[in-house]
């Protein structure tokens, strides 16, 4: 036996109290790690986004459209290598096999040159250019919708009435993890010629341009917007990443709130731990008196309490880290990476976050014990002995 034996035995004296405390700590570590993972994965996604691409949309709102002829003005700007355009279609699977996927009509001649991380085999691309109702799908989406090249595909829309029939002419593959594999692209001219879309005739949703020098991105953005400043429809040009984010506007705010939430969660964990340590210590006051009587010092008593608290925190922390690895890295991560690749190309809890969670659990274990330990060690031995539990 050594001094740790006593601290260890004490831990499970109130079995359920300790087990529940450990469970709370473990869950806290999981939630904390999950939140940090979202934050880390988010910025990893930002790093992945193409740096040399600009998106131009209507200044007022993404839901408002621009005249198609704007594309020629953009292409004329020196420093713009290529530019293409698209219109949001709001496609829906009539069989509801997937709740949401991106669908838009785009220019078949330039789209895949600008968005070159969506890789379409040359033969399929050529086929697209000769098939008016041809559509190209991401490999994951094609699987979900159970179609392959050559199949007929019927899609409905949030915006445009009726069934829209397409022929699948190609499947694109992602050359980068951040590329969404759930997108469907079809020909803008096909869309533009359909009477059901007459109210947006010769209108486009947004333009994508590639710049020769990524460092000039901001300057070129200003230049583009300046051209249309005096026209009926003004534009807003931004990096592709910022453009993606504007679809999830509220999410960025949530992300900021996450920082505070993770602090709050840790505080709650510290309070729960402190409370159960305080209860343990109060119940054992008499016993600490006995230990002091037989020669243990106030420092020993502090050490026992601290040791017990840190042990509980460590156990909870280790279980929490193990759970995080299983739940996030094993189960949730791969699903999110596949379904939300554009935003979370890597959704794994990095070791640094796991270490931080464990370290914080231990630190809070110490913090939780400070007050009870101080109270117990300051109590006079005779008073502690008189205290009957």
């Amino acid at each position: 036996m050594n001094l740790a034996t006593y601290a260890r035995r004490n831990m499970f004296r109130r079995r359920w109290r300790t087990i529940l405390t450990i469970v709370v700590i473990a869950l806290t570590v999981v939630i904390f790690s999950a939140i940090r993972t979202v934050v880390v994965a988010w910025s990893a996604g930002a790093d992945e986004a193409a740096q040399d691409r600009l998106a131009t949309r209507h200044k007022v709102s993404i839901t408002m459209q621009l005249p198609k002829r704007y594309i020629d003005d953009v292409r004329a700007i020196p420093g713009i290598k290529a530019a293409s355009w698209a219109v949001w279609f709001g496609g829906k699977d009539p069989k509801k096999r997937i709740p949401f996927f991106a669908t838009f009509a785009a220019d078949q001649h330039t789209w895949f040159d600008v968005i070159d991380e969506m890789k379409v085999p040359a033969a399929q691309l050529a086929e697209w250019k000769t098939t008016a109702n041809g559509a190209i799908l991401g490999d994951v989406l094609a699987k979900t919708l159970e179609v392959k090249v050559g199949d007929r595909l019927v899609i409905t829309s949030d915006i445009y009435p009726g069934d829209w029939e397409f022929k699948v002419v190609g499947i694109y593959e992602a050359t980068r993890k951040s590329v969404d594999r759930n997108t469907m692209v079809f020909r803008w001219d096909f869309f533009n010629n359909d009477p059901r879309a007459s109210f947006s005739r010769e209108q486009i949703g947004w333009m994508m341009s590639r710049v020769s020098d990524p460092r000039k991105g901001a300057e070129l953005s200003r230049q583009i917007d300046k051209i249309f400043d005096e026209r009926d429809d003004q534009t807003m040009t931004m990096s592709e990443r910022a453009f993606q984010l504007s679809f999830l506007g509220a999410f960025s705010a949530i992300l900021k709130a996450f920082d505070w939430i993770s602090v709050g969660i840790l505080l709650i964990m510290a309070l729960i731990l402190a409370n159960s340590i305080a209860m343990n210590v109060r119940e054992r006051t008499h016993e600490y008196g006995v230990l002091r009587a037989v020669g243990f010092s106030a420092g020993h008593v502090r050490g026992f309490i601290l040791g017990e608290s840190v042990l509980i925190a460590a156990l909870g922390g280790v279980i929490g880290v193990a759970l995080t690895v299983v739940l996030i890295n094993g189960l949730l991560g791969p699903v999110i990476e596949e379904s939300m690749a554009a935003f979370f190309p890597y959704f794994r809890t990095p070791p640094s976050v796991l270490l931080m969670a464990l370290g914080l659990a231990l630190a809070l274990g110490v913090a939780a014990a400070v007050l009870p330990a101080r109270r117990a060690s300051r109590l006079k031995v005779t008073d502690a002995l008189r205290r009957l539990d």
């Binding site: 035995r9 006995v290 020669g295 420092g299």
Partner: protein, 264 residues
């Protein structure tokens, strides 16, 4: 002193008369204050001078001990009686270095307690005092052997050495076959004997006992008292025992009474 002396004493068990009498007799130098018939004689191991102890309860000051003098000769077995609330436990706590007098000097086992810090006192207690409490006060999550080993964790003894001493102490109290039992698996009398083993495992000079038989039936109480007598006679422990039980006090060599803050 080490357990060596306990073992030696144990070995001498057969020779009935322990070395206590002869040794104490050789050193006989009556310092007696006349209040107790210190038949063990010897130099005093406890010397209290003009001890006062008061407690503050709200605005009221309760004077529990009032200018008390006490000398306990080394090797004696003393019983302290007196009405409830008379301050017996308070006096015992001062002797044991658990409490400090408001005024006065306490010299115990060669140390002046009033000059020691709390930390020094803790260390001093672990080396000089063995405690026996009314309610045994064993640690419920530790086995009998571990409870006895507890005070030894404060020493630099090796694990093997500690085990040997624990075994010896438990043999002295007759519980060598209950080493692995937890307190709840023992009877009250057995628990108190484990507590006694814990009190002697460090081989302290003085054993203080606050109503050691208070929670025991007659038979167990007698066993415990016999054991204490043995610790006194055979192992030369000075024992200071607070008790309400006249039969227990009878077993001591000196009986004292505390009343109205002073020894009668």
């Amino acid at each position: 002193m080490t357990t060596g002396s306990i073992e030696a004493g144990e070995a001498k068990e057969a020779k009935s008369e322990g070395g206590a009498a002869s040794k104490a007799g050789a050193a006989a130098k009556e310092k007696g204050d006349g209040k107790g018939k210190a038949d063990a004689g010897g130099p005093s191991i406890v010397t209290l001078r003009k001890i006062s102890r008061s407690f503050q309860r709200g605005r009221e000051t309760i004077q529990v001990l009032d200018g008390l003098d006490l000398e306990v000769p080394a090797g004696s077995f003393e019983a302290l009686m007196g009405p409830s609330g008379s301050g017996k436990s308070t006096l015992l706590n001062i002797i044991a270095g658990l409490d400090r007098p408001t005024t006065g000097d306490a010299e115990v086992a060669g140390s002046n307690l009033s000059r020691m810090s709390d930390g020094e006192l803790a260390k001093w207690r672990s080396q000089n005092i063995g405690f026996i409490f009314q309610s045994f006060n064993l640690i419920p999550v530790l086995t009998a052997a571990q409870n006895v080993e507890l005070p030894l964790l404060l020493t630099h003894l090796s694990s093997d050495e500690r085990k040997k001493r624990v075994a010896t102490a438990l043999r002295v109290v007759g519980l060598e076959d209950r080493m692995e039992h937890y307190p709840r698996q023992l009877s009250g009398g057995q628990e108190q004997r484990v507590a006694i083993a814990r009190a002697i495992v460090n081989d302290p000079k003085i054993i203080v006992a606050d109503e050691p038989t208070g929670d025991l039936d007659r038979k167990s109480a007698d066993d415990v008292l016999t054991l204490m007598e043995r610790l006194n006679k055979e192992f030369h422990k000075t024992i200071f025992m607070v008790t309400h039980d006249p039969a227990a006090a009878e077993r001591a060599s000196v009986q004292r009474r505390l009343d109205k803050g002073a020894l009668q």
